[in-house]
Amino acid sequence: MAAAHVSDFIGDWHTLAVLLVAGVIPNQIWRMLGLWLGGGLDEGSDLLVWVKAVATAILAGVIAQILVHPPGALASVPWFLRYGALAAGFAAFMATQRSIFAGVVCGEVVMLAGKWWLG
């Protein structure tokens, strides 16, 4: 029994190797490139302002991706409820002088209430 628990915990080695190839290496490459090539850049330079704007926009894209192509259990929530929850959360965020907490709670409540109402 104990051995079975340990192997459940570890999973299979193939999947762990996939984590390294598809997860760890692609992330560390960009970090180390930033460390290597970023040395000569000035904080206020145009290049850095541009690169920061692109980084922010890519993160925004990831947010949109989770809502547009939802993973796992989130796919059980209809699209109008996903977007509606985000919009309601954003309204609460703005109304509370940018409280992240208020935005997250409001978005979650709207999603849960909508799901309950739809049955």
């Binding site: 999947t15 996939v18 692109v54 890519i58 993160l59 894209g61 991706q65 059980s76 997250v104």
Partner: protein, 245 residues
């Protein structure tokens, strides 16, 4: 929490600075956001049949929420390792400018590149944002030790949350599972919006949200990169144009 003044004795020694960095993680709403996000990631890893060790290693070694979510969802939906690696690589591009932006805050003329390797590993959206907030209040020669403490604290929070989320997922209904997964986009959106003070950042965020669904119609496989570069470049262009007039 307030950090001691720049000339305080409290900054003597790297270990004390590390301790201040560690303690700084308790002072921030972003630690809560991080906690909530990684509960979602742990739950997602469980639901897509990855092992607990896999989830733990992904948090400690990848240490980038969006990349971990993309990795889990692509592999979980049966895409090939190559497709998954490309999608993760694209999402990870945003780490490059973050590292580039953080380094000048830490460097002194005597700093060697290898001293910054661990800082580069810790760099992700939370650390990036917190560096801008905390580092002006940290003496420059103590900043690397401070960020080592900050990064260690943040990864520990993420790790604990991953384990909790993984264990929770086994016991959640589909509705609550969806609620846990919705935490991630909400937390990312509001924490980024909160830290977007410059017009260029606000525009990049708003345009990035709007452009992705359009870019996704192209179905190019690099949709996030296309929408990100387009939105970021337009935001930068508007920023330059406003500066000129």
């Amino acid at each position: 929490m307030t950090l001691p003044p720049l000339d305080s004795q409290q900054w003597n020694g790297a270990i004390r600075a590390f301790g201040w960095g560690l303690r700084a993680t308790s002072a921030t709403i972003l630690s809560m956001v991080l906690f909530v996000t990684f509960i979602g990631i742990g739950a997602l890893a469980h639901d897509t049949h990855f092992s607990m060790l896999w989830a733990i290693l992904s948090t400690v070694l990848v240490w980038a929420g969006p990349a971990q979510i993309i990795l889990v969802t692509t592999l979980g939906s049966g895409q090939t390792i190559v497709q998954s690696a490309i999608a993760v690589t694209m999402s990870a591009i945003r780490l490059f400018p973050m590292v580039v932006a953080v380094m000048p805050l830490l460097r002194t003329p005597a700093t060697k590149r290898r001293q910054l390797v661990l800082v580069a590993h810790f760099t992700a959206v939370t650390l990036w944002v917190e560096c801008y907030r905390f580092l002006p209040h940290v003496p420059r020669e103590r900043r690397i030790a401070f960020v080592h403490g900050l990064g260690t604290g943040l990864i520990t929070i993420g790790l604990v949350a991953t384990i909790i989320g993984y264990l929770l997922a086994a016991n959640l209904s589909q509705t609550f599972g969806a609620a846990v997964l919705l935490l991630t986009p909400l937390a990312f959106l509001f924490s980024t919006a909160r830290n977007s003070r410059e017009l260029a950042d606000v525009l990049a965020l708003a345009l990035g949200l709007v452009f992705y669904p359009v870019a996704a119609l192209l179905n190019s496989g690099v949709d996030i990169l296309v929408s990100g570069v387009a939105a970021g470049t337009i935001a930068f262009g508007v920023h330059k144009w406003r500066q000129r007039t």
